[in-house]
Symmetry: D2
Subunit: 272 residues, 4 copies
Amino acid sequence: KGGRLYQLSKAGKLCVPAMNVNDSVTKQKFDNLYCCRESILDGLKRTTDIMFGGKQVVVCGYGEVGKGCCTALKALGAIVCITEIDPICALQACMDGFRVVKLSEVIRQMDVVITCTGNKNVVTREQLDRMKNGCIVCNMGHSNTEIDVASLRSPELTWERVRSQVDHIIWPDGKRVVLLAEGRLLNLSCSTVPTFVLSITATTQALALIELFNAPEGRYKQDVYLLPKKMDEYVASLHLPNFDAHLTELSDEQAKYMGLNKNGPFKPNYYR
Amino acid sequence: KGGRLYQLSKAGKLCVPAMNVNDSVTKQKFDNLYCCRESILDGLKRTTDIMFGGKQVVVCGYGEVGKGCCTALKALGAIVCITEIDPICALQACMDGFRVVKLSEVIRQMDVVITCTGNKNVVTREQLDRMKNGCIVCNMGHSNTEIDVASLRSPELTWERVRSQVDHIIWPDGKRVVLLAEGRLLNLSCSTVPTFVLSITATTQALALIELFNAPEGRYKQDVYLLPKKMDEYVASLHLPNFDAHLTELSDEQAKYMGLNKNGPFKPNYYR
Amino acid sequence: KGGRLYQLSKAGKLCVPAMNVNDSVTKQKFDNLYCCRESILDGLKRTTDIMFGGKQVVVCGYGEVGKGCCTALKALGAIVCITEIDPICALQACMDGFRVVKLSEVIRQMDVVITCTGNKNVVTREQLDRMKNGCIVCNMGHSNTEIDVASLRSPELTWERVRSQVDHIIWPDGKRVVLLAEGRLLNLSCSTVPTFVLSITATTQALALIELFNAPEGRYKQDVYLLPKKMDEYVASLHLPNFDAHLTELSDEQAKYMGLNKNGPFKPNYYR
Amino acid sequence: KGGRLYQLSKAGKLCVPAMNVNDSVTKQKFDNLYCCRESILDGLKRTTDIMFGGKQVVVCGYGEVGKGCCTALKALGAIVCITEIDPICALQACMDGFRVVKLSEVIRQMDVVITCTGNKNVVTREQLDRMKNGCIVCNMGHSNTEIDVASLRSPELTWERVRSQVDHIIWPDGKRVVLLAEGRLLNLSCSTVPTFVLSITATTQALALIELFNAPEGRYKQDVYLLPKKMDEYVASLHLPNFDAHLTELSDEQAKYMGLNKNGPFKPNYYR
């Protein structure tokens, strides 16, 4: 993802120009948000047949993925709280009606724990020890590092595979924690991804490659770039007919008033 | 707002460094979104005592202000559709469950028309002529240009002031259109603004001025800048205690893994 | 309301037939639910200019009025919990995503306390003593008994009228509790009521009176009756054109299959 | 279901007392509403992997099942309209923000058609003929009669089984309609049912049988009865601990004021 590319770039180890497609609007605000809004429900249902109504859920991380998960779960009657390190995202969570807590404060009461931070060891063995019987733990973030699964491969705990992608980890006192996809991404392992969102992401990736390939010598150095806004908008416009959406066109007078080209880009590059 | 500053800058007419505070996260994603989510309801209630349930509403523009208006109105049972010029925002509206239409297609059926585009003549005299009796028209955008109010000051139409900030425009056939605040901003004219959101915006503005004042010679040229991410995060962190929100801190190991300073900034500058 | 009529009837003190209009569908499920969904927001805004986002709210009672209040506040980003005496309503609250608590467990953290139980002394002096500074207390229930306002008219407390319908009750340590409408109904005292909902309720009342007046001798005894379903449906059908709603008609075959008259009633009397 | 029992009773063909468990609160307002809110999403995902965001959906019938379906689909970004024969339910749909239409008016634009009426031939061959390519048709109602599936077993149409429970019906021009579970109940055929809701329903049924078995001679005649309110409340109270819900108890003074027994029943029998 984007973060790794920037680290390579800073370290001077990036030997070609790169497009940070992950942070383009059409990826961040569509794939991450809308796709996860659906796949968190789908992934949990297909693996555990859980009822969402009335469930206590903690979502770790309130970025786009976390926002998608929280929206869907809340809408289906779950009681959701979140954890965050970033004060801006934490404040958004507050304004959206979610309590912002530390994981350790609430872990004992939770029915479901979902990670979407992109970080590692967000759910530790100590916290797994304190979960209640039947608690479901899963990961919607970027790799298999968020839940400390390694700490569960330990002689005092028994693993029982109850279904494909579903393990019961059994404590000596009989307590069971339900681990999904061994801590790998739930949305990739246990649910399907809408072809429509895949099409948006794939189109963005393809356009980025074409741009890098066609760009005149010198336009891009050995650095990380964001997709030009106009291309993001082009990707979106290609997908609008699917919804029978009717776009409004600027009049000449309006375009002049706004200082915009009638064909876009309509927003500054930093707009999200 | 931001757009004007960039026009001045492009034209070489900006003679001091400027901070585009309007596009900082804490302004865009808090003041514009959350404040309008509440003030659209408040402004309409105080002026017209409208019932929201079942009302047909068109919102022109699906930026942060439009998103706030649509969320609130939909939640209270209105049937909302939107107009957009930007395919990215239009696609977001689709995914959020709003039909994307041209104003002319739906104008006859609407009970309420709300503008939040920042543009001019978004609602034209021709469209005002086609509205149904009792239709409410108001503006949540950036000035008094969005509704072509001038076109209504015309001898064949009668204006009747029915209450402070509320005019009935009466057509020769008796049809009445309800114009709020003479097309000026509804949220500033007809509702109050939460002190909490004002505090966020004012803190952001104050920090921007302090930064410009204290900055060493040469840090800022005669150009438009966005607030450094770390300051945005600082503004947010100052407002968290109000909600009894408990922020999680990165461990050393986690900060290293993410390539982040434990005190932030936690996101790249372009993150929204 | 209905309850009082039944008490009179049981006591043999009802000397005429009565219609319990309050428990007819069009009253319970429209006036109580949809009207309160809007007036709780309106009443709080007009009196206190509160921002709803992130506020901790407890709603006492999860009947139709409570459901309306909770829906609206949750939709605008408040964090809502409820109290209930009835296990069925409590279970509905759980499934709808609200924590069910005792008032004393949460009173210290609340920003807003709303009563809608129809009972008395739901908020006691002891609980008022434990509220935090700035807590708003109001009543959406059936009379001025729900909050023990009498207990606040006490020499050690100072009352300060800060605005029409808004009193600050000041404790010796300086703590202020914001009491709205002196504990009377917020929706009647501090907000307007949509004419549409009033029309539904008034039509129901008028039809009940006409039925009682026109009924042949012996149809009604000195007892309490619910409005016949067919009249409830008639009231609803009179109000549908307002929304441009298009009702589907049963075919002969379908009516026969369902055992229904094509003109209704479509549901059994007990259906809600 | 309830309707059939009443028909038998009217015809004098009911030879034992019967409890109409289907219309008890804990069945109608829990199983039908909350269960369908989840199973409509689950059933559609498991069979078609559909993305809900932006989809045009028509739900036929706005009873408890329809309300559950509409709530869930709207929350996930679908654009939902409904059809109804009952003006009360139609008016509820309006107030909840759904357009009330006749099926024929919208059938051409729909991406998904869902029946939950309990009636027959709600979706006719003529309407199936007019659906657009790829339209999904399924049934959440009470039997396999709602969609006229028989009319699709016709020589000019080709059936292609693409997956368990999923048939493509192919028109001569190549148009495909996606029929789920051959028109049988989607929630029973293609999704799982939460054990919690099953427990509520099963407890209600068991209590009804115990009551009928234990009742003293003469309490019940050869007729259809609704479960006594107190039992409904008992069923609910047995399921509250699952959510860590804390019920409030009436004080003596409050019980007397309300004219209630402190242990319930808390509502009249007709309350829903």
